[in-house]
Symmetry: C2
Subunit: 241 residues, 2 copies
């Protein structure tokens, strides 16, 4: 008897993070019109089955490009989701049939993280609607997309822990220390004192003060800073910090 | 026309690290007799196709159990390898046909890291031969196994960077600071001064000195230490270190 090995489709799904003006982490979700009911929309993570001659990393780059119009986005593969029941919901099976014109039962997916400045123009060639959703306002999604998003939050923390330069992908090119603090707080699991944060940050030679301050703000105008990737790279990572 | 989506088998492959008495990182490789030629042996990473009702993490635990006889091993999924050409070599295709009794063309694999104390007894229920190989003596392996091993070295460094407690999985329960230093040096990419290392380590309250020193050694007998996982866990990780 032949052993019963999986023989399946493989997809990629992308969790793209942004940071909004109310200091909240957001992610990009897409909508497609339901063919049977044009009023009903399916909100989900952007993703795609991979083609037969395509590597998964290339598929993720393709999905991100079709999603945003941006040619090269930072991305990181973080986990293969392969629970045998992840695509067993009746409406999910129906959706896969309509979308991919195949009889699909099981499907495994490789999940990716990506980061995008929230004011970047989104030019999707594939999706009718692409929207930012604050993390705590994400609705119930098909498949295990809510689980993927939940795990992506743990992963983005780890990513920034192992490479702090990643955090600057979410900030405008020039930013205030308060903005950096607020993003850091949104990503961190515990309270950080702003004075200690200022002290720590001012010891980092790769965060460069600019000769420019905020304009038209009600509070005391703060100085702008920029991130210097070259100086950052010189500070090699160590196993013990 | 139907788009040409991948429809494939999925496997797991495990890179199990150990640390030997000559201060070298080793990995476990397995051999199976070639059915056509009993003299010829196929050396490779331990792995398996996943079953149709199996999650990838469960498949990796199964492979590790069949490999070592150990019930629960530390493991970490690190990457999905899906290069369309990774299993295109003629001998690899032939091997898959013999091993799995299926016509297999393309195959993607999910790679895992695991760690094992090198003096642990290996009781494989599946493989005829299981051996430790020093990292720099690994022969040419089938598929992209050499590439997987190369990338696993980067991943084990990242893993220890993000969770230093992992390093103690590779050491005996009681160890000297010299052993820890030598393991750390083997994992690190750059030279570390042993005096600075001693100073750093002695500031870690989770590395506990024991009332026991080395016996029958030619050099000055060193004190043994143990790792306290509970104290380690109390020291929360931070995004900025």
């Amino acid at each position: 008897m032949k052993p019963n090995f999986i023989h399946t489709y493989v997809s990629v799904d992308c969790v793209v993070f942004g940071f909004d003006y109310e200091n909240r982490l957001n992610i990009l979700l897409v909508q497609k019109h339901d063919e049977d009911d044009s009023e009903k929309k399916q909100i989900k993570l952007p993703g795609s089955l991979i083609f037969s001659e395509e590597d998964v990393d290339d598929a993720a780059q393709r999905v991100l490009h079709e999603l945003t119009g941006i040619k090269k986005m930072v991305l990181k593969q973080f986990k293969c989701f392969a629970d045998p029941m992840r695509a067993s919901n009746e409406s999910d099976i129906k959706w896969m049939g309509t979308e991919y014109k195949h009889d699909i039962d099981r499907i495994i997916t490789v999940a990716y993280l990506s980061l995008c400045k929230i004011d970047h123009k989104i030019n999707s060639s594939k999706y009718s609607t692409v929207d930012w959703y604050p993390i705590d306002e994400v609705p119930a999604l098909p498949f295990d997309h809510n689980k993927i998003i939940k795990e992506s939050l743990v992963e983005i923390r780890k990513w920034i822990e192992s490479d702090f330069s990643i955090i600057f992908e979410l900030l405008p090119k020039k930013f205030t220390i308060r903005q950096l603090y607020q993003l850091y707080s949104a990503l961190s699991e515990k309270y950080i004192d702003i004075k200690n944060f200022h002290k720590k940050i001012s010891s980092f030679n790769y965060i460069i003060p600019l000769e420019e301050i905020e304009k038209n703000v009600s509070h005391r105008a703060a100085r702008y800073y920029k991130f210097d990737a070259k100086i950052f790279k010189k500070n090699n990572s160590k196993l013990i910090k």
